[in-house]
């Protein structure tokens, strides 16, 4: 029983803890600069084989991603690391969204107040007047056709 324990531990260590499909959606083919899931270049095939080896060794997704960075550099990650110029990827979209919402929040009440003020300031449209003779003729016509 005691002799079997280390063998069981080794077997448990090599149980796959990640799937190739899951990982290749999150990493890049570094030479072709496209997601590994769709890349078919020789480098992508080598990278996929390397991931398969790590999966067979029972590595988790996080461990595999760390190993990939160690072998291919941070460019292998689908999401770029948050430093340098790459920071714009993380900062800019929420910044634009917040600025947009803030601008609308500031300007919308102003625009609504202005349009209401314009509406109330506008003079009522006068009914076009017609001559008495024309009014009689119109009534006559309406009676004739309207029944």
């Amino acid at each position: 029983m005691i002799a079997l324990a280390p063998a069981t531990a080794i077997a448990a260590d090599t149980t796959p803890k990640a799937s190739l499909t899951d990982i290749e959606n999150d990493v890049m083919c570094v030479s072709c600069r496209e997601p590994l899931a769709v890349a078919q270049s020789p480098q992508a095939i080598a990278e996929r084989n390397y991931i398969r080896t790590l999966i067979a060794h029972g590595k988790t997704k996080a461990q595999i991603e760390r190993a990939l960075v160690g072998q291919y550099g941070p460019a292998v990650l689908g999401k770029p690391p948050a430093h340098g110029f790459n920071l714009t990827v993380y900062i800019l979209p929420p910044l634009i969204l917040i600025t947009g919402i803030g601008t609308l929040a500031l300007l919308l009440p102003k625009w609504r107040r202005r349009s209401k003020a314009n509406a109330s300031a506008r003079a009522p449209i006068a009914e076009p007047s017609i001559a008495t003779a024309d009014a009689h003729r119109l009534d006559e016509e309406l009676r004739r056709y309207g029944g």
């Binding site: 570094v30 030479s31 990278e47 390397y50 072998q71 291919y72 550099g73 714009t88």
Partner: protein, 184 residues
Amino acid sequence: MRRLVVPGLVIVAAAALLALLGFGVAHQGSDSSIDAAVSKGHLPMAPSANVALPLLGSAGTEKLAELRGKVVVLNVFASWCGPCKDEAPILEQEQQRLKGQNATILGVTYLDNSSDSERFVRQQHISYPVIRDVSGNFVRSFGTTGVPETFVINRQGRIAALRRFQIDGTWLSQTLPAILAQKS
């Protein structure tokens, strides 16, 4: 005047985004300044000469600055690259000739995992030193975007010749003698 504030801000924001886009695109493009300089005969200093990179299969490091005084044939390769396999025997043969002439081939792996690179070195019987450029910054400083690429660095540490595709024996035999003959 106040009416111009909002359109002005929108225009400034749009211009800033366009500038950011331009900066990003400009930094993605390949750098051909080394090729232009070499073709004009203005031999540029080899970039990243003081960057120490790990030697494949050992705990040591190597940097170009330490090889100053030697002619270095810097070959960028990867185990998954077919043309690299074809040129490896030519480079190994050249290494045997260069040994006695204060010169060496120096391999640099490109976007390759170390176990595959080590297998490649064993299978191709490569005896010259090979360094690993994991981040890719070293080879990018040479304007490298693919493999294989080869740079001949003279004894002064300047790039004297380069080839951005597979080399052959003829290119080496036509390129190297003149560079080897130069004194340091």
